[in-house]
């Protein structure tokens, strides 16, 4: 896997990983009666995940390629056929 592919893969897997860690049984582990510097452990856990996801998304989006759109000529949205200009060949 190239570096670019790895990053794209991570970007795809990030939400899945995020979903898994907020669901039982993982979330149940921290759903204990313990406190963490005055914060309930479960609050700490969920907000830490949240922050981690945000940081991960921030880092990933910097590495992911930007989309360079083609020059879209402004054309009025009139006929539905204008949406089908993909197939005609120049």
């Amino acid at each position: 896997m190239t570096r670019q592919k790895k990053i794209a893969f991570l970007a795809k897997i990030l939400p899945i990983a995020g979903l898994i860690v907020i669901l039982p049984p993982l979330v149940s582990i921290t759903n204990a009666k313990a406190d963490f510097f005055g914060f309930p452990a479960i609050i700490t856990y969920l907000f830490t995940i949240w922050i981690f996801l945000i940081v991960a998304a921030y880092l990933l989006q910097r590495k992911l390629p930007s989309h360079t759109p083609e020059q879209v000529e402004k054309q009025p949205h009139t006929a539905p056929s204008s949406k089908l200009n993909v197939t005609d060949h120049d």
Binding site: A8, G38, T68, K83
Partner: protein
Amino acid sequence: MLQTMISGSIVIGTSIAYVILLFVVAYISDLRARQGRWKLLRSPLIYTLAISVYATSWTFYGAVGSAARNGLEFLAIYFGPTLVFVGWWFGLRKLVRIGHNQRITSIADFISSRFGKSERLAILITIIAVIGITPYIALQLKAVTTSLRVILANSPAASVSQTGDDLGLAFAIAAAMALFSVLFGTRNINANEQHHGVVAAIAFEAVVKFVALIAVGLFVVFGIGGGFEATFARAKDVGISLNTPDNFGPRWLTITILSAAAIICLPRQFQTTVVENADENHLKTASWAFPLYLLGMSIFTLPIAIIGLSVLPVGSDPDMFVLALPLASNQNALALFAFIGGFSSATSMIIIASIALSIMISNHIVVPIALRSPKLFGLKEGQGMTRLLLTSRRASIAATLFLGFLYFWLTSGSGALAPIGLISFAGVAQFMPALLAALYWRDATANGALAGLLTGAAIWAYSSFLPSFAASNEQIAQLLQTGPWGLEFLRPQALFGLDNLDPLVQSVFWSLLGNTIALISVSLMSENNAIGRLQATLFVDVFKQNHNGQRGFSRSSAPLDDLFAMTRRVLGTERAEILFDRFAPSGQSRLNIEPTPEFIARLEKELAGSIGAASAHVLLGQVVSGDTVTMEEVMQMADETQQILEYSQMLEQTTKELRSTTEQLQRANVQLRQLDQQKDEFLSQVSHEVRTPMTAIRSFAEILLTNKHLNPTQRQQFVRTIHDESLRLTGLLEEILDLNALERGEKLWSNEPVDPNKALSRAIEVCTPVTNQYKVAVQLGNMAKNVRVIANFDRICQVFINLISNAAKYNDAQDPIVIISSKVNGQHLMIDFTDNGPGISPADTQTIFDKFWRGARNPDTSQSGSGLGLAISREIMEKMNGSLNLINTRNSPAEFKKRGLKKTGACFQVTLPLHVE
């Protein structure tokens, strides 16, 4: 606690001033947009803030209420969207790309475009959206109404009961909002349905509500609660249980899924995320900034709920804690700010939602009807539709808000904010299966989507929407209790008798299950029409195409192997190789080609010549960007063309085979003719050879018969001649038979270890009469001793005799001599027979082993043999895995020099395999 009142005029005045401020923001933004000063308006920040319209008064007020009642459940509402945005690369990016390419105007437009621009689908989605959003708008009305009353009466407890005044207030608010949205959203009709002024105002509102909530949160936690630690310490006392395992049960998962679906499917979210998107790269910022915004909005939710429960009087509405807590602490300014924050969150939602819905209603319901019956709408030939669109949108906005008010009225008094919002979420979540199928499943059909949406929406309406009227409607309450016609297992909130499961979980599960099953099964049973198939490709494979006239592929990562494999599939191996070789750098193989855009463009043209431009482009596009479509799929696409090509190649192959068969036959024919000629020649030679002695025999016999007066001596002589000639004839015939048998592979003998010297002396002995007759000396040179060869003794003697007698017969030297020598060479024994005769002329070296060849220079032909000797000898040698050759004798062999002889004649070499013991 002494409390000062905030006068109504101040509240109303501030609200109006705020709305005017919004107008100014929107106006300036539109002005800037018209002047082409896009920079700020089209910034990723504005985009992200506009998406934050997700945080409505439900978030602002309702989340605290939800936290006070259900603990951490409110977080699920934000985790869903967080996951969707964090995973933007997978889903949202595709959605936005298609939105741009297809110039999508709404979620109804999106789904119907994908499924062959199905009108029915667009209408159905619009209707579901309108019904689904109605509770959501009612929620905003309720929140604003309640908050207004709380801040005016300064009594959080009072909101529990609802008075007739509330309805009037709500109606007034709804009317004001309608006016507001009409003025904002329908001032002009934009080609791509982007509303820069509105978006700017929404972004501004996002900042206001964020700052207001943070301000309240900071005040509550540090002003009242004494820090986070102290605040959370109160949690147990007020009965918020953070540690119950129920927190993360099915309801937690359901709400996470629902909110994830809602962030895309809610018409206003689709509007801000997809339709209003100016640049796909803005998603990059939104991917982390929007979750961050949600995080900020949620930090203080739980602390506010805890403090509210512990400070405010029992029975206070938890949905109003955000407002009630500053009021209770006499922080009137903060309370007013909080009110404005809640107001802004409600207005932003209502504006965008009503605009989004009005676009859907006018585009998918009003316009199609108007186009069918123009007279009804006063449309004249050639007249633009702008007026009609504007009017219908304004009417739609008013109608939408009125429906919201109606729902608010009919469900008056029914509970908290969050459950109402979840009903909406569950409603729009019905779009999710169709949307996912639109993005990722090529074979999903319009009928499938229609069936799925109908099924899902029906189950939702029955199990979620209908029960929300129970509080104000006796019959519906009755229905919830006993089920329709007394059928208990059909009770809306306990379908199939599932009493224990949460009603929301049930409703979402059954509706989405029914939706998905109907979508899949009907899709499998139906087929997409042509436009549906095309659109399916354009949607599902959006990353593999290039739109808007630019046909060239940008710098690609296309593996050359894949390109070559695909080209071979389309053009056939031979042409593909030629094509690729043409592009190969000089002197290098075609595997060294750089897949440059030029190369790919050239390749596309070549392919287009075979399978058409569109197919070539799609095909190549799939290989070049090589994203989710596997090579197998591409190959399948190529297969139709390939089958034809294969067929023609098959024909070509058959033709080629026929041609080669014909050639083979011709060659065989030539060979046969040659053989026939050889046979004829052989027969003529044989008959010639046979005729000579036969003529002699016949003529002498005739003389003997007719001439009775011959003396006995003459008679004796004639009879001897006849006898000699008969012997010669017999010998000749025997040799012919012998050769024939050898050539046919008959007369096999067994080879065994033989002493070659013994065979040689036997042969010399047999040849003595001949050698004596010609006075030829036979001498032995260096002989290999004690060797044995694999041969047949009699046959090897026959060869030796033939060679010695030939050397004797054709030697015309003064002192004729034959020298025989042998030596071991590797696994073979080589025996040379060298004479000092005339030798064989170079022209004859090839022919001496032919049948009936005789030395041309021999004067005494009558004494010569049959001319078959060498041919037979060579045949025998080959049968013994040896060989017989005439070798070059230009240099006098050592044996000759020893004897002082200068001239050498012919030298025949016999090679025999050695016997290895």
